[in-house]
């Protein structure tokens, strides 16, 4: 076919120059993400984008004109530069951390709403390309808003009191934050699959975004009034940590979104598990690096705070991974390495609830090792860590076992229900002692009752050094620890068979041969319907 037959924007009969231009545009966009190209085309046509864009310009214009008219003196002598910048910045921030993420959220939802998603999913586009395309188009929109506000900021920079480093810093933060928030908005849009939830999802999304704007705007104005210590290395160290943390959660959100869009027989778990584990190790590395840098060792006090964070991380990660359906698709089994030793290394990372529990247990083991192998400055700390880990293992193990059982009873029981079950169960055991105590004769007794053992929030604080602490040499402490260890071991035993099956499903070579026989194992026994 000759090259003059078609050009995208201008078919036959169009002016030659236009034609060449559109061919050029065609070439330029050739290697770009197809979703990005589509979204930009749609955005340029959509009234919503054009209207918001014009609105932004008009408001910024009015502000500038108002400033020039009403306080001409401040313009020349006062700190108008900074104040005007902050107003422009506020307008920009609203656009890039509320409107743009909300648009990204809506655009992903509408693929499902309008029934276009399935056709995308069977094209050559990977789920990652789809997610990245949506994110990229959000970034392009942010970029457009930035370009629009630039002349105004240039105007503010000519005035007194304009702080260039601070302004650049805030603009950079807002851009980075816009990417994070857009990614989270995209992730949340992939969670809702039923229409009814989607409407609620959009509403919730909007309020979440407004709340987030309130928090971040407050923080940024704080920066601008208190100033930023650019020459303090400690500031850069913590800024670096924040950036890495935000980046890792953005990656996590991206991976969750990708997994949600991945075909059922594909791998929806390994990526998420890798990122969650990497976050944990990065956190540990940062703690170690920080203590080396400061020349201090981590005290038990610090350790307690760090442990709270780590425990929260693994409680969520464990609840997520351990409630997955115990199933390894034929397709994934085919992709496993031939080497049996390598296969063993693969076990904790492969999809399946039992393997997910194993994955969590291994990391909890690493935490315990750190607690008992390092030399801590107090002797209550290791047993406190042990107790915390026991609670985590108990709750996750029990949740996993119950989920597995409920799935047998009602096939429509989904992983999400299992996760909700764990949360509800945690809340229930946390409040039980409070209720029992409230009903008892002496509700505010400081004495430790065995019923308090049920709640981690009643028991764990007692194991720390403090006023109500149970001393290390108190036999009660040992009883508590024994009871908790027993509970954790029982919870693991309840999953022992599933874990064994989960391991052998990956390791055993025999299953490879049965793969070719064909008929079984295409779907989990209880497939969603």
């Amino acid at each position: 076919m000759s090259s003059d037959t078609i050009s995208l924007a201008q078919p036959a009969g169009a002016a030659d120059a236009d034609n060449r231009l559109s061919v050029l545009a065609d070439r330029l966009t050739d290697r770009m993400n197809p979703i990005l190209v589509k979204e930009v085309r749609q955005a340029l046509k959509s009234r919503q984008f054009v209207v918001t864009f014009m609105l932004l310009l008009v408001i910024a214009w009015l502000v500038s004109a108002g400033a020039a008219i009403f306080s001409p003196n401040a313009m020349e002598f006062g700190s108008a530069g900074n104040q005007l910048f902050l107003i422009y910045f506020g307008i920009l921030a609203f656009a890039v951390i509320v409107i743009v993420p909300f648009g990204a959220h809506r655009s992903m939802l509408s693929e499902r709403d309008q029934n276009t998603f399935e056709l995308l999913s069977i094209s050559a586009l990977t789920p990652r390309q789809i997610v990245n395309g949506k994110l990229l188009s959000a970034m392009v929109q942010s970029f457009v808003y930035y370009s629009a506000i630039t002349p105004f900021i240039a105007f503010a920079s000519l005035l007194q009191g304009f702080d260039l480093p601070l302004s650049l810093f805030l603009l950079a933060i807002a851009f980075g934050w816009s990417i994070c928030v857009s990614m989270f908005a995209l992730m949340l849009s992939t969670l809702a699959q039923k229409r009814q939830i989607q409407a609620a999802n959009s509403m919730g999304m909007f309020f979440l975004l407004m709340f987030q704007l309130y928090m971040t705007a407050g923080m940024m104005f704080q920066f601008s009034y208190a100033g930023v210590p650019f020459d303090d290395p400690a500031f850069w160290w913590s800024a670096g940590c924040v950036v890495v943390a935000a980046g890792s959660y953005t990656l996590l959100a991206q991976q969750v979104a990708v997994s949600r869009l991945t075909f059922e027989s594909g791998n929806r778990s390994s990526g998420i598990r890798l990122i969650l584990a990497a976050q944990f190790w990065l956190f540990c590395a940062a703690v170690v690096a920080n203590s080396l840098w400061a020349g201090l060792s981590v005290s038990s006090r610090d350790g307690t705070e760090l442990l709270m964070f780590v425990a929260f991380h693994w409680a969520i990660a464990g609840a997520y991974a351990a409630t997955e359906v115990d199933w390894l698709s034929r397709r994934l089994r085919r992709q496993l390495p031939r080497n049996p030793l390598l296969r063993i290394l693969f076990v904790p990372w492969m999809p399946g609830g039992a393997r997910g529990l194993l994955w969590m247990l291994l990391h909890v083991g690493a935490i315990l090792a750190a607690a008992f192998l390092f030399d801590w400055d107090t002797d209550w700390f290791p047993t406190f860590v042990l107790a915390t880990c026991c609670y985590m293992v108990f709750l996750t193990g029990l949740g996993a076992a119950m989920t597995r059982w409920l799935r047998l009873v009602t096939p429509s029981f989904r992983p999400a229900h299992g996760r909700a079950l764990i949360v509800i169960f945690t809340v229930a055991i946390s409040v039980t002692p409070l209720i029992v105590r409230a009903l008892s004769s002496n509700p505010i007794s400081e004495k430790f009752h065995m019923i308090d053992l049920v709640s981690p929030f009643m028991t764990l604080p007692r194991l720390i050094d403090g006023r109500m602490a149970i001393a290390v040499n108190d036999p009660l402490r040992n009883h508590i620890l024994i009871a908790l260890c027993a509970a954790a071991v029982l919870a693991v035993l309840a999953n022992a068979r599933a874990i064994f099956n989960g391991i052998s499903e990956v390791v055993s070579q025999k299953s490879d041969e049965s793969l070719d026989a064909g008929l079984q194992d295409i779907q989990p026994a209880s497939s969603p319907s």
Binding site: S3, S7, L120, I122, A124, I522
Partner: protein, 348 residues
């Protein structure tokens, strides 16, 4: 873990990087003991059949028979409970990424990005299938020509008529030049004219472009003209499949009239009086291989045991016996008859 493809069965639809055309008559689509259960409901229950390159296969069954469910599995949008399906030799369960390259799927309902125009829409899917530069432009051009949407290229999709919109949908699944096309009730809701035109296009896919086409419908007459073969499904089970003739034979066997054909005969007006009719009846009853004779004024319906040769010989003898024959034709077992006979209206 990557979605990367592993060396596996060599596909008949691929030759290195370039798509290759499989020889006409090659089975490029196969369902093998396919099952899909939704809880207790057996939406697809042990379905097996093949479809061949260069042929249109009908997938016929009443609403709720399991056509869409089967086709979604073929299109790698769903997984079978058991069994497997193969497109160009690749399993839809194990190699969905490869299958997607060979397959064009047109769902029964799908979104169309109403704010885009026709070219932009096709351009987007061409990009989504990884077509770049001139290959993309050629593919779009080809689809616009084939679907005759050239004149509407700049029109926003939401302003297209239903017929044009369906054509665009057909064009969309052709954009990456797939070897196998799976079309789920493409003619549903079209007016008769649009339906005929769409049917022509689909026919061309097989005859001109040597594609394997599987097309579903609950309307039989619609398919009998363009299909080379058909599979009849009801309540998740295949009741009959094969070429149209084979299905008709199966149906005849089913009613116990193997290799016999029903014939209709009408005497010319004015020469169909009662005596002639009586004479005809007597004459017919004397003929070998003729049975089940039924008479009405000037008309006869009967069964003839035998093939076309027997039928011509009978006609010659009729004429030489002096009957003025105005009509003489077989009351064919149409696909519709076959369908009505085979299915029993089971609903789950």
């Amino acid at each position: 873990m990557s979605e990367s493809e592993q060396p596996g069965v060599k596909s008949v639809c691929e030759n290195g990087d370039a798509p290759a055309t499989p020889p006409r008559g090659e089975a490029t689509l196969e369902l093998r003991h396919l099952h899909r259960f939704f809880g207790r409901l057996k939406a697809v229950d042990d379905v097996s059949f093949k479809a061949y390159a260069g042929q249109v296969m009908g997938f016929i069954g009443p609403n709720g028979a399991g056509k869409t469910t089967s086709m979604r599995i073929l299109a790698t949008l769903d997984l079978p409970t058991a069994g497997d399906a193969f497109i160009c030799g690749d399993s839809v369960v194990d190699y969905p990424d490869r299958v997607r390259k060979y397959l064009g799927f047109m769902p029964d309902s799908f979104g169309r990005y109403g704010d885009m125009n026709v070219v932009e829409f096709l351009d987007f899917y061409a990009r989504a299938y990884g077509l770049r530069g001139d290959r993309r432009r050629d593919a779009i051009e080809h689809v616009l020509v084939f679907t005759e949407l050239r004149k509407l290229a700049e029109k926003p999709i939401k302003t297209l008529s239903k017929g044009m919109s369906q054509r665009l949908g057909l064009g969309r699944c052709l954009i990456h030049d797939p070897q196998v096309m799976v079309l789920d009730e493409p003619a549903a809701g079209l007016d008769p004219r649009a339906r005929v035109e769409l049917r022509e296009l689909i026919r061309l896919l097989a005859t001109e472009m040597n594609k394997t086409v599987l097309i579903s419908s609950h309307i039989l007459t619609e398919l009998s003209e363009i299909c080379d073969s058909a599979a009849i499904i009801e309540a998740g089970r295949i009741l009959a499949h094969g070429t149209i003739e084979e299905i008709q034979q199966q149906q005849r066997r089913a009613v116990g009239r193997q290799s016999s054909r029903s014939l209709l005969l009408r005497l010319a007006r004015g020469r169909d009086d009662a005596t002639t009719t009586d004479r005809l009846e007597k004459w017919l009853l004397e003929q070998p291989f003729v049975g089940h004779v039924q008479m009405a004024a000037g008309k006869a319906a009967f069964e003839l045991e035998g093939d076309d040769k027997a039928q011509t010989e009978l006609l010659q003898r009729l004429l030489s016996a002096g009957f003025a024959i105005a009509e003489f034709h077989s009351k064919s077992h149409s696909l519709e008859d076959a369908f009505m006979n085979i299915t029993q209206g089971i609903t789950q």
